[in-house]
């Protein structure tokens, strides 16, 4: 517990004072961010404001939190949202079973007046901290990274509660008092837009919409993340995915799928794409039967196999 609310804000890794520095640092940790995303992260760290990330599934929203925790060398605390999530699952809960045992034990030892027993019971040691409390209580040279994943899945009540936490970085536990974060955690919120998250919550945050990467950047990502893949293979995969994204599919592949695909191909020993490899691995990029059919109809194989050198 600390005196002032959130003494020092901001949490840039040492040696980073420009957004360009940060971009290089991210790259060193195998995350390729474009200028917009790098600037957004830079500002979020520098200003100590939560970062709200939206974008298609699989463009690397969650990855941002992971790479930040690596760069800042600080724990990643993750809160996965779902419908019906409440304070007891997100912030804290009393460990009732242990409290009961404690009562019994005290009784058995014939001890203790009521008052001191109660004091004992509502003690920090009987409190189970859940992700949000963990993030606020974290002690260390750097604040932790708090990933609040898929906020759009939680319901309105919880959103209102998050709003409170994200503006003060403090939470009140009736029996114990208020816990204030010494330094606000680096908060990353993600949403898949299954519903529109309330404006008030977005206003507290910096906002960035992550797009699918360009061809060249995707090749780079593939080379960086799956170093075993041949250059030619990476280019072909990137070219094929780019085409798939333009193909009007039910679920266009994101970067995550492209990576899966490349890994699958490498696992099969593919040096470059050919029809049988594509046949065997298409399930790792396209997840709907209709999409497979469409890919077949559009002669994806021919297009891809024809791409000797790749190209956008």
């Amino acid at each position: 517990m600390s005196e002032g609310p959130n003494g020092r804000r901001g949490a840039l890794p040492s040696g980073v004072s420009l957004s360009e520095d940060l971009r290089k640092r991210l790259r060193k940790s195998d995350y390729l961010a474009d200028e917009g995303l790098a600037t957004a992260i830079f500002l979020a760290l520098k200003l100590g404001r939560p970062l709200f990330l939206e974008g298609e599934a699989g463009v690397g929203k969650t990855e941002v939190a992971k790479v930040l925790s690596r760069i800042l060398d600080t724990p990643l605390i993750r809160l996965q949202c779902y419908e019906g999530i409440d304070v007891y699952q997100a912030v804290y809960e009393w460990d009732y079973a242990r409290q009961l045992l404690h009562i019994r034990a005290t009784e058995a030892l014939g001890g203790g007046d009521r008052e001191s027993l109660e004091k004992d019971l509502y003690n920090r040691e009987f409190l189970v901290s859940r992700p949000l409390l963990q993030a606020l209580e974290h002690q260390g040279p750097m604040p932790p990274v708090l990933l609040i994943d898929e906020v759009d899945r939680a319901d309105d009540e919880f959103e209102a509660f998050l709003l409170e936490i994200l503006s003060d970085f403090a939470v009140t536990i009736p029996e114990l008092g208020t816990v204030v974060a010494e330094r606000p955690p680096v908060a990353i919120l993600t949403s898949n837009r299954t519903r529109e998250v309330h404006d008030a919550l977005k206003r507290r945050c910096l906002y960035h919409y992550i797009e699918h990467p360009s061809f060249e950047r995707e090749v780079e990502i593939l080379r960086l993340r799956v170093p075993e893949a041949e250059e030619i293979l990476a280019r072909q995969v990137a070219a094929a995915t780019e085409r798939m994204r333009a193909m009007d599919l039910y679920k266009p592949p994101g970067v995550a799928e492209t990576l899966d695909w490349t890994e699958a191909l490498v696992a099969l020993g593919a040096k470059k794409l050919d029809e049988s490899f594509v046949q065997a691995t298409l399930g790792s990029v396209l997840k709907y039967r209709e999409d497979h059919q469409r890919a077949k109809m559009m002669n994806l194989m021919d297009m891809v196999v024809g791409l000797e050198s790749g190209g956008g």
């Binding site: 600037t39 500002l43 200003l47 019906g84 007891y88 079973a97 009784e107 759009d152 906002y207 679920k251």
Partner: protein, 388 residues
């Protein structure tokens, strides 16, 4: 770096930020003071003389929906290219072309009052309701549209109930150790009373897809009002208009003032009298919103005469997709009111196999039927057709 200067000194970039904020507001973005201050702070941390830095500082702080990015881009270009000297008010270019003819939708209240006086006003207000309930919307006078507003205000729109994953205390159900043990604390560790909880029931999300093409124009006015009544009543409701393109109008309809909401919605809807490619519109909905979760377990209401200018096989395919996601699909077609109407033509025939409830929606009474169908939690009709 001005760490502690949070609330005290005005950021040096504030003037420029305020000016840019004004441009954005003129372009239709909602930019509050807090956002502008955030923008100014962000600029300080970057190089405001660099175009890209200035651009991203604003993108990150002033925009929070992908739909707004295009508007932002245009405003930014304008602002930057002019060196910050944009005449803000002057260029309120009508970015939205088509509007609902206002006089017919929303007669100013005074004229209504003026026409009515004394006892007659009471008569006029109460007696026509019964008549109006059965009158085709296409035959409504402006005064009657005003009356419709009042009637719709009483119409509750709320989705069928479903079990939520949130639990609430209950007399019986699942055992609730938290409350039981908490109670036990008070009785010396002895659990004298056991507590239970069960899943709360919650209205399902209702999604309205409203065809606003020319062939529907006499009805879309009333239907937009109906949508507004629903959105304003605070139901979990999403609304889209289908024309030559799909437009989300939930936000525009979310104000309490019906006239303003309609004006905004008609602003958002660009294609009030263009043709509809129904299949494409439904596809766009499923692709962009439905599949990600909005349609899952929802009650979907489609307002359309089923007149599809596109390929009807697309519509059939997309309706099938939608029916796999949705809890129930209700199709409202004003043409159904005509005794001779048979849903044989293209789009309607293609869509009907995937429709659970088929209604007419041409007068107030049938809107009441619709509200009932939306709230009905019983199982789907096995044959998937007319249940009226």
């Amino acid at each position: 770096m001005p760490e502690g200067a949070e609330t005290v000194a005005a950021p040096p970039m504030l003037d420029a930020s305020v000016a840019f904020g004004r441009v954005l507001r003129g372009a239709g973005l909602r930019v509050g003071t807090d956002r502008i201050v955030g923008f100014a702070r962000a600029l300080e941390e970057l190089d405001p003389g660099r175009r890209d830095d200035a651009y991203w500082a604003g993108r990150v702080t002033l925009v929070s929906r992908p739909e707004d990015i295009e508007v932002y881009d245009r405003a930014f270009k304008l602002f930057w290219d002019s060196g910050g000297n944009v005449k803000t008010r002057a260029r309120k270019k009508p970015r939205l072309s088509v509007t609902i003819p206002e006089d017919s939708v929303a007669p100013p209240k005074e004229t209504v009052e003026k026409n009515e006086s004394g006892d007659e006003a009471v008569m006029l207000r109460y007696s026509p309701v019964e008549v109006l309930r059965n009158k085709d919307f296409a035959l409504y006078t402006p005064e009657e549209f005003a009356e419709l507003n009042r009637m719709l205000a009483d119409l509750r729109l709320s989705g069928a109930l479903r079990r939520s994953r949130r639990l609430e205390p209950a007399a019986r159900g699942r055992h609730d150790p938290r409350r039981t043990l908490r109670g036990a604390m008070r009785t010396g560790g002895e659990a004298l009373r056991h507590h239970f909880r069960k899943a709360r029931v919650q209205p399902r999300r209702v999604v309205l897809l409203c065809d606003v093409s020319g062939s529907m124009s006499s009805y879309s006015r009333a239907l937009l009002r109906f949508l507004h009544a629903g959105v304003a009543s605070g139901a979990r409701l999403e609304a889209f208009s289908m024309g030559t393109r799909l437009t989300r109008i939930t936000r525009e309809l979310a104000t309490r003032d019906p006239d303003r909401a309609l004006k905004q919605a008609s602003g958002a809807v660009r294609d009030l009298s263009g043709g509809t490619r129904l299949g494409d519109a439904v596809k766009e909905f499923v692709d962009r919103w439905g599949q990600r979760g909005m349609a899952r377990g929802a009650v979907i209401v489609v307002f359309s005469d089923g007149w599809d200018r596109g390929d009807v096989t697309v519509l059939a395919e997309q309706m099938q997709r939608l029916s796999r996601l949705a809890y129930r699909i209700i199709w409202v077609n004003p043409l159904k009111a005509a005794p001779a109407y048979r849903p044989l033509a293209g789009g309607m025939a293609a869509a009907l196999p995937y429709v659970d409830v088929f209604l007419s929606g041409h007068n107030f009474e049938s809107l009441e039927d619709l509200a009932r169908a939306v709230a009905d939690a019983t199982r789907r009709d096995p044959d998937g057709t007319d249940r009226m």
